[in-house]
């Protein structure tokens, strides 16, 4: 692997301690040092690397970024809050206790600042931090690991079911110069626990980099849904890595909904570690202008009788780009695997471009794996059908575009989040108003 010319990025001038200079456990300090050395060796990825072939991060590498700090004023978060949710808010990658609302969580559920948790209960986190997200090959994960200032710990004891949604609200605010923030998130779900989580990325400003790393561990029979929404400004950059490990009979349902952001690279890596685990990974990106969205999904089946489903869709207008790389790995022992993958792209302009890269690596012989990808325009037969029923051309196009997205949107568990995504979608369609009461 080769490093870019900017081997010494401005960010590396920072101390490897959190800004508030509290003392961290030794294992964290060690991890940061290793991660930093690793980033020094890797440098920012270039399009010559297979994993980054269609996404050039030059504009991130060449921007002199500084670590984001607390803003002078608290941002307004009301427009982004999911009603009735337990909520933790990070502003510029730092915990904001004033904006958070975690008091009503049931006993056995902990939702708190990762920095606080590292101080108070490092033994909860040590077995997981940096153990799942790979710093060896992923430069941005190394960068996050070296530089994270704070983040979120969500810990669920065995058998705890959180009935209301949990919102992780990540706000980035503008500063005088371009900033970077590195939220670090650990979601540790005990045996037979369950929760519905929404992770919202909002705000931000020109050339900002938001670079979260999330480690998710599901114990036996746990069930989590995690919906990530990108609603940042179109000039913001976002590179995320989510790594999940699923124990026996556990179930993970992930949605990655990308509506905003200039360059959004989102990696989701799931390892199905024991029999009966299931992962559903869905994505929808709706892009315009020169937005660039790259979804990188990897599911590894390590044990028999696990099931996985990847369903990613892109709606591309303007000169936007969408990249999907979906990899299914089935280990030799993972017999009776059922793995599916589908990537469909709807192109609304003459210059938008979608790349779809399905990759299968199957070592077991008794498996069912399906994959398919399409890139196309709205179906003229369907448009004519709708027009012949009285819908004008723009209304017919809006309806079909909505319908295309709807198959992913309808599977979002949290009602308020689904409604919010629907509103965001219809507000971007030329005749979105006809869709306001979709039954």
């Amino acid at each position: 692997m080769e490093a870019t010319a900017t081997a010494r990025h401005t960010l590396l001038a920072h101390d490897l301690l959190p800004g508030n200079a509290r003392v961290e456990p030794g294992f964290v300090a060690d991890l940061r040092r290793r991660a930093r050395a690793r980033f020094d060796a890797l440098g920012f990825p270039t399009p010559k690397m297979e994993e980054w072939r269609f996404t050039n991060v030059k504009k991130i590498a060449e921007t002199p970024l500084v670590l984001a700090t607390h803003p002078a004023e608290q941002p307004t978060i009301e427009p982004f809050c999911v009603p009735d949710a337990h909520r933790i808010v990070l502003v510029n990658g730092r915990f904001s206790p004033e904006l958070s609302a975690t008091a009503e969580l049931p006993a056995g559920a902990v939702l708190t600042s990762l920095a606080d948790a590292l101080e108070w209960s490092p033994e909860l986190i040590e077995p997981h931090l940096g153990r799942h997200a790979d710093i060896d090959r992923h430069a941005f994960t190394a960068l996050n690991t070296a530089l994270f200032q704070d983040g979120v710990l969500l810990w669920l004891a065995s058998g705890v079911a959180v009935d209301r949604p949990i919102q992780l609200l990540m706000v980035t605010t503008a500063d005088e110069e371009p900033t970077a923030n590195f939220p670090r998130i650990a979601i540790l779900a005990g045996q037979s626990s369950s929760a519905n989580i929404v992770e919202s990325y909002v705000g931000s400003a020109e050339k900002t980099l938001t670079c979260p790393v999330t480690e998710i561990v599901l114990d036996a029979n746990a069930a989590l849904s995690l919906t990530t929404t990108h609603e940042e400004d179109a000039a913001a950059n976002h590179v995320a890595n989510r790594q999940a490990r699923l124990a026996r009979d556990s179930r993970l349902n992930c949605h990655t909904i990308t509506l905003g952001g200039g360059l959004v690279r989102s990696d989701v890596n799931v390892t199905l570690d024991a029999e009966g685990a299931h992962a559903s990974l869905a994505g929808l990106s709706v892009t315009d202008g020169d937005q660039h969205v790259d979804n990188h999904v990897r599911v590894r089946h390590r044990a028999p009788r696990c099931t996985s489903d990847q369903q990613y869709r892109g709606i591309l207008d303007g000169a936007s780009r969408a990249v999907f790389t979906g990899r299914i790995v089935v280990d030799q022992d993972a017999q009776r695997t059922d793995a599916r993958q589908s990537n469909r792209n709807l192109i609304l302009s003459d210059v938008a471009l979608a790349h779809s890269n399905p990759q299968l690596e199957i070592l077991a012989d008794d498996v069912r794996c399906t994959h398919g990808s399409t890139v196309g325009r709205l179906d003229e037969d369907a448009l004519f059908y709708l027009q012949s029923r009285g819908l004008d051309r723009a209304a017919a196009e809006s309806l079909l575009t909505y319908a295309f997205a709807s198959e992913v949107v309808q599977t979002i568990e949290i009602d308020e989040v689904r409604a919010r995504v629907e509103r965001a979608l219809t507000s971007r369609l030329p005749r979105g108003e006809i869709l306001r009461e979709t039954a």
Partner: protein, 257 residues
Amino acid sequence: MLELKNLHVSIDGNEILKGIDLEVGAGEVHAIMGPNGSGKSTLAQVLAGREEYEITQGEILYRGSDLLELDASQRAGEGIFLAFQYPVEIPGISNTYFLRTALNSVRSYRGEPEIDAMDFLELVKERTELVKLDENLLKRPVNEGFSGGEKKRNEIFQMAVLEPRLAILDETDSGLDIDALKIVADGVNSLRTPDRSFVVITHYQRLLNYIVPDFVHVLKDGKIIRSGGRELALHLEDQGYEWLETAPDAPAAAATT
């Protein structure tokens, strides 16, 4: 209601319709029969406003005005309805939502207010009974996973809700078993009124036992080669389309209406 004068239609440079003359009066049912490839479906699509077809000659008058000036959605607003030979599946949109959007679109075209939600539900309930459509199909995405018969019934159901002035049925009978055919035909017959006209396109005479036409036209190679009353369809059923070639003196009226 509808008047076609010397209509010539091409697609990709191939002439499909080669001079059609047809007049459909208010309340009349006209059957258009013909072998495969004769241009029947092209005629249906052109009437409904499909833009891929090029009108190279002739004109279409609808209620005295030039129909070709209007696009497909405007024609729907003016009361033209095409029951598709192959209804399109639209995953992600419920049948009910689709129908209410369609109804409100034509109402808006006519300057009428949107239909009230309760009134709409009542209308839907009443009209589903007309074609014995399973109410569960209303909640499902448009035509997705419907059987052939369910799709055709759904077309007639949409027609019943949209209440067109001129309904064109494009091979609505193809692929239906006799029970489904009777249900569809009963639905159509119950919608016959003195001012609503039908153009029924079919390959098989069987449909015309249930939807009795006032006039029958035979289309072949882009032209209407024979027009007559109901008895023309019966002859065709007995003799096949070849009979038209070999028996020029067969009992069929030469003139259109």
